[in-house]
Symmetry: C2
Subunit: 248 residues, 2 copies
Amino acid sequence: MINKTERREHAQVEVTVDLVIFTVRDDQLHVLLIERGQEPFADWPALPGGYVRVGEHLDGAALRELQEETGVDGSRLHLEQFRTYGDPERDPRGRVITVAYLALSPDLPIARAGTDARAADWVPVEAVLDGQIALAFDHVLILREALERARSQLEYTTIAAAFCTEPFTVAELRRVYEVVWGFKLDPSNFRRKVTRAHGFLRPTGEHRSPEIGRPAALYRCGAARLLSPPLLRSSDVADAQFTTPALR
Amino acid sequence: MINKTERREHAQVEVTVDLVIFTVRDDQLHVLLIERGQEPFADWPALPGGYVRVGEHLDGAALRELQEETGVDGSRLHLEQFRTYGDPERDPRGRVITVAYLALSPDLPIARAGTDARAADWVPVEAVLDGQIALAFDHVLILREALERARSQLEYTTIAAAFCTEPFTVAELRRVYEVVWGFKLDPSNFRRKVTRAHGFLRPTGEHRSPEIGRPAALYRCGAARLLSPPLLRSSDVADAQFTTPALR
DNA sequence: CCAAAAGTGTTGGCATTACACCCATGC
DNA sequence: GCATGGGTGTAATGCCAACACTTTTGG
């Protein structure tokens, strides 16, 4: 009996990585998508990703696929594995499970379309969640869960600064929170919190004049990765389920 | 070139699930371990787990393996997938990646030793982390990260009540926090927090007389899964113990 | 050219809440 | 000894008003 189970009762599967890379652009949350160049789902938009190679680490595969398909150098992003998707029916090619990664990126220009992808570009998250844009495989599900994870991470970590290109202003950082969470924050309270949180921001002493309005102080990222005390969404907002990331 | 890459550049791997089931017993945190009945690592203690079968969901495999190897019915536990381990060298049999699950359990009696396991029992977590007990594969790493996840979950969710058999007292719930976090809490402040948090506890109106001391009020779990406001570890403690599993 | 308006960033002032620390009481 | 309850001072927070610096508008 042991031989029978040993022979082929457990699944021989293939493993992919998929990446959800967010950025803030024009006061809207965007996600990095590629256009698939191969079947299945040829010509469909999809998350960048691909097969893990023999002897390759999962994290390494994520970095490589991101580089190959979009030209983005992931080594400067805070790439975090957040969940693995293994529904037996999720890929028509057979048993393929995928390890999903999440990262927040400053607004990078997307240069290259790589080997397995015809194109790569930023797409408004709202357009995907509204159903205007359909994604290959179960990538909409992955995107939704990555968004919720990102929202949660903004509360307890300092990664929001990863969205901003240094140096940045407090208002720019606040807009990141507003765009990802989908509602407005009080500028005064926000400033107080982030400037008093230990190790979040390092003031440069310089200022930048916007097109209109008072010049804003410039900051760089601090050393702290955890945000204490955390910057919580109000409880009633957190309870309500988010559907559209539009500003209130 | 596409054919060459298509043929066998990506890895054909096998997928397992592993389960980290915690409980509180005698004011000590315990983890459910089995003794392996097969090579590799025959006779070694290890986390319960095993191969995912053809056409089987990951969650289903976790439930099945838990039942088979330990006799525990996981359907009443909040099994949560928390990370996937894919180091190419982590398993001597070849490329095997494992999806790790976490659950908190009340102190259940462990009845059965299953097919692939000679024995199953609760083991103090401290004994494993001290190095007194060596685990198979990279299971110590998985255990460590599961512990950190559990500690974090106690802050933001109400799952600590899952450790307790209903009905329970506030003091029992507090001891869960103390054992998992590893330090004492102020009984007065703790009571105030958990009783005022919406939907955490439902008072039964009844009391239980301990062997010594004033009778304690009895509670059942409330409906809320998220704890707001959260019950935070003090920031210095969080800084010391929190490690984010992220790249670079 | 100057003055007022409008837009944005920054600072400060309460009132309320959450919390740590401590003490009192019931059983 | 343990569970429960309250009290006080401090910190964090929500709400709101005022102020600073800039560009735009309109005479």
